[in-house]
């Protein structure tokens, strides 16, 4: 207590005097850089070097199985990728998966957030339960949904009278199941973000709108939603980037069969499975650029304030 009292009595030294750095602020700068060094070093090692390396190698024709046959081919790999219908089919697949999951998650997530915000019934239990899908390993969620729809092991066909319909033999049916598993796993994250946003909307506003003559529906659209725009945009941004990189579910459920291959899967297949380093890296760079593009659109277009968001995956 005496500490706090003394702190109050002693005005804090202001860091504003830039002209001549005091010993204190010089040591502060040094400490700041020192403390950040290890984390920055690790992040650089794992991202900067491989990215530069990928950029470099993407300009070569290079297969791991034939290391001697390595030739500089300028942007030929990019041309190959961009002119391949498979690439565009994968783009389309990824796009559809992303659009559908984000849209559905936003709606369901908002509903869940509303329920968590308003319902008093089993409040703690609900908030605990909603974290389960978030915590569960994506691969396991993929297995759960795969087996549920599987003809051999699943219950879906017999419960919903789908007969012998083989879900994983059709493109759209497989996509549906992939999307379902992704939605199940990540809606909790969306709903928690939206719940935090909902909690930021003062109760007063809703009441004021009620008195001003708004129906429940008008309150939602004219007062609640506009005032949690930040939370909605953050949720959409992170979920869009997340869904765009979808990989685990596709790997487990279809291995990219039935035209369900996504961009991430294509990259993986080229670099790791086919060991076509040059071409794979080119696809990887394209994937990277697409992510940058999406992020830029969000940050510029929707003016998501980066100081308000943080990373998550």
């Amino acid at each position: 207590m005496s500490v706090a009292a003394r702190a109050a009595a002693q005005p804090s030294p202001s860091p504003s005097s830039r002209a001549e750095l005091s010993d204190r602020s010089r040591s502060e700068r040094r400490l700041g850089l020192l403390l950040s060094a290890p984390a920055v070093a690790v992040m650089l090692l794992v991202t900067a070097y491989p990215l530069v390396n990928a950029l470099y190698l993407s300009l070569f024709r290079y297969r791991l199985t034939a290391p001697d046959d390595r030739r500089f081919v300028w942007f030929a790999n990019y041309a190959t990728a961009l002119s391949d219908p498979l690439f565009w089919q994968d783009v389309l697949t990824t796009l559809i998966i992303t659009a559908v999951t984000v849209a559905v998650e936003l709606v369901i997530g908002f509903g869940f957030a509303m329920v968590m915000h308003r319902a008093l019934f089993a409040r703690r239990t609900v908030r605990t339960a909603i974290l389960l899908p978030y915590g569960i390993v994506t691969v396991i969620s993929a297995f759960a949904w795969k087996y549920a729809f599987d003809l051999q092991s699943g219950f879906v066909n017999s419960w919903f009278g789908a007969g012998d319909y083989a879900w994983f033999s059709h493109r759209w049916a497989s996509m549906l199941v992939i999307v379902l598993s992704e939605i199940w796993k990540t809606t909790p994250f969306v709903s928690l973000l939206l719940l935090a946003g909902l909690a930021q909307v003062p109760r007063d506003l809703g009441e004021a709108a009620t008195v001003d003559g708004a129906t429940a529906w008008q309150r939602l659209w004219r007062v609640t939603v506009p005032n949690m725009k930040a939370a909605i945009l953050v949720a959409v941004l992170f979920r869009t980037l997340d869904a765009w990189r979808i990989f685990d579910n596709v790997f487990v459920m279809t291995s990219g069969q039935q035209k369900t291959e996504t961009l991430s899967f294509l990259t993986y297949r080229q670099t790791i499975t086919r060991t076509a380093i040059g071409l794979g890296d080119a696809v990887g760079v394209l994937l990277f650029l697409s992510v940058v593009l999406i992020a830029a659109v969000f940050i510029r277009g929707f003016r998501v304030d980066l100081s308000q968001v943080r990373g998550d995956r």
Binding site: P202, D204, A208, V211, D212
Partner: protein, 422 residues
């Protein structure tokens, strides 16, 4: 415009505790009614039941001649100013004020005209394109009021609208609200815990305590003829002093000294009580050395030791501690706690003329205006000396002054273009 009639209103929460208990109150058409009381007394709950944000457990709520117990807030046609103003942060000042009109699907040019009229009335015209976040406290307050008056609501409800402003602005906005209400003549219910707002704004004031209505009356009536210990203690600042006294004949023995009662009506009121509480307002004390001889005879003089003095320029407060029997002291402590006062010891506060030379630590002679003291039953808290004739006179007086004010306002309003001629 409409009267608001509450009969036997009860609000009970899940735990069975009544936040508002059997309140019956008539707010007449065009009247400015104040709901006042310490925090937790149920005044805000009552207001929220009028507007429909809280369900009514039992009783009947009428607006005009319509029973509104189950009517949705948006169909009650009331407007409300919230404590934190509840301005929509994503909308401009213009759109904030226009919001109720937009919901009512009023045509665009009509909205524009009415919002601009309202803004002109509240001197907000130059701020119409700004967002609430960029406004000062007083401006936000005015926007909230603009939103309330822009449509022709049957009544205005205010929930402690000035409590977030600093003292100076509060004074300004207080007169602003008063002027606006007189001018528009709309029924108004105003919740506050502020003495000054309660005394200056209202035609009538309703004092609530623990969900129960204590007294309704003009500010003067509450001050001069309080019905019980609670109202007497709550209205007036500093609070009325309560001294335990043992009556003997026409004399009252108090810890400060003996007071003689000249008024036979008061002596009769004591009856056969062995102990009563004497209520004396701080202003009814004087420094005996400054009192003229003739006046001195019309009151009592007591000797006391002053503990602390506070010189405020226009007044001098002196604090006089006294001893009280334990049970009475406890009762007074409970009362003081209920009144949200932090006074812990039994002491009398006296307001003296600033020219008095009394110092802390002095033994002084104080003159008490015995004609204005009240006597309370210590167990029930009832005021034994309430004068019904005086009450009736006060009521008549306040009605008359209100009518006069209305009339004056009406002539004035005719010169200013009305907000919405219909």
């Amino acid at each position: 415009m409409a009267a608001i009639t509450m009969s036997d209103i009860v609000k009970r929460y899940g735990d069975g505790f009544p936040a508002v208990n059997r309140v019956s109150l008539d707010v007449q058409d065009g009247e400015f009614m104040i709901l006042v009381g310490p925090s937790g007394c149920g005044k805000s709950t009552l207001l929220r039941m009028i507007v429909g944000l809280e369900d009514i457990t039992s009783g009947e709520m009428r607006i005009g001649d319509r029973i509104v117990n189950t009517v949705a807030p948006r169909q009650r046609n009331l407007s409300m100013v919230f404590q934190n103003y509840a301005l929509y942060p994503h909308l401009t000042v213009f759109e904030n004020i226009a919001f109720p009109l937009r919901l009512a699907k009023v045509p665009g040019d009509e909205v524009d005209r009415r919002v601009r009229d309202t803004a002109a009335l509240l001197e907000l015209t130059e701020h119409l394109d700004r967002k609430p976040a960029h406004l000062s406290g007083g401006q936000r307050q005015r926007v909230a009021m603009g939103r309330a008056i822009v449509r022709q609501a049957d009544a205005f409800l205010f929930d402690e609208p000035l409590s977030n402003l600093d003292a100076k602005l509060r004074g300004q906005m207080r007169t602003e609200i008063s002027r606006l209400q007189r001018r528009l003549g709309v029924t108004t219910v105003y919740v506050t815990h502020d003495q000054t707002e309660a005394m200056t704004l209202g035609d009538r004031v309703a004092v609530l305590r623990k969900g129960e209505l204590q007294q309704v009356g003009s500010p003067r009536e509450l001050y001069e003829q309080p019905e019980n210990l609670f109202v007497a203690g709550f209205i007036g600042s500093p609070s009325m002093n309560f001294l335990p006294a043992t009556p003997s004949g026409t004399e009252l023995r108090t810890p400060l000294g003996t007071l003689r009662l000249d008024d036979q009506r008061k002596v009769d009121a004591i009856g056969d009580r062995r102990i009563v509480l004497v209520g004396i307002r701080p202003a009814d004390f004087e420094d005996a050395s400054l009192v003229s001889h003739g006046k001195r005879a019309r009151g009592a003089v007591v000797r006391a030791r002053v503990d602390v003095t506070e010189w405020l320029g226009n007044e001098l407060y002196a604090y006089v501690p006294y001893e009280a029997p334990e049970d009475v002291a406890m009762r007074l402590r409970d009362l003081s706690r209920e009144l949200d006062s932090d006074q812990l010891r039994t002491q009398a506060v006296v307001a003296l003329d600033p020219s008095s030379r009394i110092h802390a630590g002095d033994d002084v002679e104080l003159w008490v205006n015995t004609a204005r003291l009240h006597l309370f039953d210590p167990s029930s808290g009832l005021n034994l000396t309430r004068d019904e004739d005086a009450v009736a006179a006060l009521a008549a007086q306040s009605d008359a002054s209100r009518e006069a004010q209305r009339a004056a306002q009406r002539t004035e309003t005719q010169e200013v273009p009305p907000i919405d001629p219909d």
